[in-house]
Symmetry: C2
Subunit: 328 residues, 2 copies
């Protein structure tokens, strides 16, 4: 098996969590692939105008035997995005471990069980939730994973499994720690980080948005466009330079909520910014206190992963990708 897929044509790819926001956007941007299987707990729609043959499947990846079925075509490239979000994993301990840990482990085990030289590239969507306070000013590539949520714990465990399975040669894994994706389009989900998107998305749509934390709260962001770019870059990355450290903090934009609001004002005007209403929420404040604020993501930058240029650009990407008529 080659150490990287490079620009070779991939015959089969699999996306888990393909009905999710990033999964749908990823499916829409995939090229140089013959066939893609889109999987989720509910049946994902095919991407419009996909440049490949698309099929869909719905099942619970954490149920015994389900992962095997997804590997019937032996995809050379697997994007593993399936997960329940932080708020839900915190509210439902059993479901979080079942989906986010056992589901991932079953997928990894199903890959290993094939053997016979099968060694796909596995791109795993991890999260900066693997880190927990207290933090240095900027979190470097050698900082410990000490998560403060069950979601972060599950992702950190998945990362360890990914590294060990890669080291043992069962697959060729890359874990990418996504910044908080902002601006998330559509409806709020159950992630505690939802307000970071809400305070941009709702005002741009002319609606009021609630701000549950102080304007001084600093966080780490990437647009959906940059997030999909990370996944695509990881798919073709030469993994030899990674050595045994297969999990990479992605570059991002560090901004305070106040800076987010100023960017909104610059891009969309005062009227938009005035739609943000402060409504402190102690539960969300406490969760967010444990989250990272800033990183020094040198390894990923050296490997060619590229962040957005500014928070203004993150807002502009949202307007371009979500609020303008799509080409038909």
């Amino acid at each position: 098996m080659v150490a990287h897929l490079g620009s070779e044509l991939v015959r089969h790819a699999l996306i888990t969590g393909a009905a999710g926001m990033l999964g749908r956007k990823l499916a829409a941007r995939l090229t140089d692939i013959d066939e893609v299987l889109l999987h989720d707990i509910v049946e994902p729609s095919a991407a419009p105008h996909a440049a490949y043959q698309s099929s869909s499947a719905a099942s619970d990846l954490s149920s015994p035997g389900e992962a095997q079925k997804l590997l019937a075509r032996r995809p050379e490239l697997i994007f593993h995005l399936a997960a329940i979000v932080s708020g839900e994993a915190e509210a439902d301990f059993d479901k979080g471990y079942r989906v986010n840990l056992d589901g991932t482990r079953r997928l990894f085990e199903a890959i290993r069980a094939i053997g016979d030289g099968y060694q796909p590239r596995v791109v795993f969507a991890s999260s900066i939730a693997v880190f927990g306070a207290p933090f240095p000013d900027a979190i470097g590539d050698e900082f410990l994973c000490a998560p403060l949520t069950s979601y972060g714990t599950q992702k950190a465990i998945d990362e360890l499994l990914l590294a060990d399975y890669s080291r043992r040669g069962f697959f060729d894994g890359v874990g990418i720690r996504l910044p908080t994706i902002c601006v998330r389009p559509g409806k709020p989900n159950r992630a505690a980080s939802g307000f970071f998107s809400g305070i941009i998305r709702e005002p741009l749509a002319g609606e009021e948005a609630l701000l549950p934390v102080a304007k001084s709260v600093r966080h780490w962001f990437a647009s959906p466009r940059a997030g999909v770019g990370f996944l695509l870059h990881a798919a073709r990355l030469d993994t030899a330079p990674l050595g045994a450290r297969r999990n990479l903090t992605m570059p991002g934009i560090s901004a305070t909520v106040g800076e987010q609001i100023e960017a909104l004002r610059r891009v969309a005007g005062d009227a938009a910014a005035r739609l943000i209403r402060e409504q402190p929420d102690p539960v969300i404040q406490k969760i967010v206190e444990g989250w990272p604020r800033n990183f020094d993501a040198r390894r990923a930058a050296a490997l060619g992963f590229r962040a957005d240029a500014s928070f203004d650009d993150i807002i502009r990407a949202h307007i371009e990708d979500e609020l303008r008529p799509q080409p038909s």
Copy 2:
């Protein structure tokens, strides 16, 4: 539940892995406890002259339902030492994950399932194998866990589970990352680190010992006596200062193989040191290259964990504890 057991009398304690070397030594030193259940895959012997009522059980902790049985008396104090060693976990991937990950998780889940205010102190024997090269000169308390063995991966995952279960209030956990225990008494086990003890133990018994690595190899050591001391200290530790970071690198002695041999010469003479025969082993060399050499274990030191004073003292502890007639 109190944040620490302090000097209170513990009514019930449980030791898993009680037939192992550290488990036996721990059982022999326990005090201020009414009853202790000793558990292992083979039935452990009661400690001679134990100051408590002792019972024993043998079962496979990784089999469903077994962990529950061990909690029938609701032990307030659990020492979880059961594991298979690094060499075996590397040779048998399935067994390593089953015993070292699933066994631990089943124990943690069985504790959680009791609920009803039950929140025992859990002292977990982790390992410096959670770390992997490349390293700084001395590994600090915020250095990442990037293990280079499946054993180290399993221990790192257990640590994450321990921290999350503690954060959620299911138990009150302390993970202690044991240095390589040296001098291990008795027969060599399947740990790749076995030679570190062999080159001291065998010459002290008048036998030849094989040295598979260069004398410049540096490593991190604690005597069995210090190792048991760590476990006992963790059992009574006030865990409030730990916050969410429940896993602690233990203090130790950093020494090269050459320094080990010089210490042996000082304590036992030239004749003993001459019994060490160099026989390079590329497999062991490669494993050991990925191991840590030195630590800056400030948190544990500040919390009162105490290392041996020198490698000479480690050898003397072996002579006193293993090679002299025991009081009857």
